[in-house]
């Protein structure tokens, strides 16, 4: 982890049409770092990720990638710059096989598979079940297996920053552990991660720093291992604003 912010937001405001969901978010992600974004339903976590990734309109200066203003750049171009996303609900391509889902990412990745850090073989080592299921339609996979494909698809974009939205949503605890176990492997290659997570314990364990959101605002930031449960509870439910 180095002291240079690879991704940062500056007074980020955004939302859906006339509905404003984000109110001046300042956040930064260092190279090789994992930050967790926690908060209750409707806090604006997913909206934040979508705004950063170019899926919702924001001002150009509100998002910077390696110091360069990139706010509002369309998502497909953000992939070319080095961002990738594991969306909430996985959103795999129905009617296509596991391999085809992966191939879409390879076809449009920042780097060719042969030059990139992530290859299908490496991902099949990480998620062996996917090697067996590679020619099966995506609909035939369990929720956990689909999440593995969603992560693989994002990694095959060869990202430098990975945005993960609710990796644990709807999965059994054993499967969640299995999926979170691969995060160190992802970080070891220098990829930075923004992790949106509702499970606070999981978020604290997996991240270096933590941001808590409430009603479109950051209510708590600090090192994950230094923030107490009481501070999180206060920030999560809005008892007070705090910086640990």
């Amino acid at each position: 982890m180095t002291g240079t912010a690879i991704l940062s937001t500056h007074g980020l405001v955004g939302g859906y049409g006339d509905f404003q969901a984000l109110f001046g978010i300042d956040l930064h992600l260092l190279q090789g770092e994992v930050i967790a974004l926690i908060g209750a339903n409707g806090a604006g976590k997913s909206t934040f990720l979508k705004s950063v990734f170019g899926l919702l309109p924001v001002g150009r200066d509100m998002v910077r990638y390696e110091g360069v203003p990139v706010g509002g750049t369309p998502a497909h171009k953000m992939v070319g710059r080095g961002l990738a996303m594991v969306p909430e609900g996985r959103r795999l391509f129905a009617g296509m096989t596991v391999e085809e889902n992966m191939r879409v990412a390879i076809d449009h990745a920042r780097l060719p598979e042969s030059e990139g850090q992530w290859t299908r073989d490496r991902l099949f080592e990480l998620f062996p079940i996917l090697r067996e299921k590679r020619n099966q339609p995506i609909e035939d996979l369990s929720g956990g297996q689909q999440q593995m494909v969603a992560i693989s698809r994002a990694l095959l974009c060869q990202p430098r920053v990975l945005l993960c939205d609710e990796l644990s949503l709807g999965l059994a605890p054993r499967v969640i552990r299995e999926i979170y176990a691969v995060l160190p492997e992802i970080i070891s290659g220098g990829t930075s991660i923004v992790l949106v997570e509702q499970d606070v314990s999981l978020a604290r364990e997996a991240s270096n720093r933590l941001y808590c959101m409430l009603e479109g605002r950051i209510t708590l930031t600090g090192n994950s291992n230094e923030i107490s449960r009481d501070q999180i509870a206060a920030a999560y439910f809005g008892a007070s604003n705090a910086v640990a």
Partner: protein, 286 residues
């Protein structure tokens, strides 16, 4: 023997319908864009071909080399200027926009070409035929069928095995998720519509060689294309091809029963498939 002849002639007629339907299979079956102007664009291209044939010293192959690029350009512009603004999960906006385009095109064609029927000048190909056993086959319908078969095979292979095909299927499945994976949905849709209308360019020349066309013919071609895609199964290129064959055979058999029943038989078979297998003959299992 007359029924065998009806089936053979139906297959050949199906070749023409397949050419109408393959572009529709790409736009409606894969991309879920309802293009009501599909038939009118084809008639427009036929009329452009008829007009060009009168002034340019091209043979039919030369005409194909001019009309297909024009069709590709029309498809690209159609998607960029109109359809990309209305494409989404809800098919209604594209339906309304192309319905308006359909009316505008029909009136434009009436203004330019009047309501007269027109066709390309008779050529040797259009009147040539050969005999296999007791059945006579027209050379042009056989060429149309072979072209439709080759286009269906090519299109299916493109969708399955190419970067463009995977990107298009991904964008059709989930436009936003495709963008998250690096696909530019608007660009890929514009390319797909250019291909779909490009196929119509070829169909337009064959249609004007085979019979007459007039500005009001578009909606009938649209219906045949829709029926073929739905009979075959949404999302399946070979399904659309097969659907066109079923439609052609039904019409040819209906014609043998009574000369006034041909078109009706096609519609009845379409309704029968809708009632008994609404997902289409070749639809993938969910």
């Amino acid at each position: 023997m007359q029924w065998l002849d009806a089936i053979v002639q139906g297959v050949l007629l199906g070749g023409m319908y397949a050419q109408y339907a393959l572009g529709m299979a790409l736009m409606f079956g894969v991309m879920r864009i309802v293009n009501i102007a599909h038939g009118d664009v084809m008639i427009l291209l036929s009329l452009i071909a008829v007009s060009l044939a009168g002034v340019l010293p091209f043979g039919n192959i030369g005409l194909v080399l001019v009309i297909v690029p024009i069709a590709v350009a029309i498809g690209w512009i159609l998607q960029k200027v109109i359809l990309n603004r209305v494409v989404g999960a809800d098919p209604l906006p594209s339906l309304i926009a192309t319905f308006g385009l359909s009316i505008a095109l029909q009136n434009l064609m009436l203004e330019i070409w009047s309501a007269d029927t027109r066709s390309l000048p008779n050529s040797d190909i259009a009147s040539a035929s050969f005999q296999i056993g007791p059945i006579y086959l027209g050379l042009l319908p056989v060429i149309v069928l072979v072209c439709a078969f080759v286009i269906a095979g090519g299109l299916d292979a493109v969708l399955r095995y190419t970067r463009f095909g995977r990107g298009l299927r991904a964008a059709a499945a989930d436009t936003e998720a495709a963008a998250m994976t690096g696909v530019d949905p608007k660009r890929i849709y514009a390319t797909a519509t250019a291909i779909a209308v490009g196929i119509l360019g070829l169909a337009a020349i064959f249609a004007a060689l085979r019979a007459t066309v007039s500005p009001s013919d578009g909606p009938a071609q649209l219906i045949y294309a829709f029926e073929a895609v739905i009979i075959g199964g949404m999302g399946s290129i070979w399904g659309a091809f097969l659907g066109a064959m079923v439609l052609g055979i039904a019409q040819a058999v209906g014609l043998r029963v009574d000369p006034g029943l041909g078109i009706l038989f096609g519609h009845l078979v379409f309704l029968l498939v809708l009632a008994t297998r609404p997902e289409g003959i070749m639809a993938r299992k969910k």
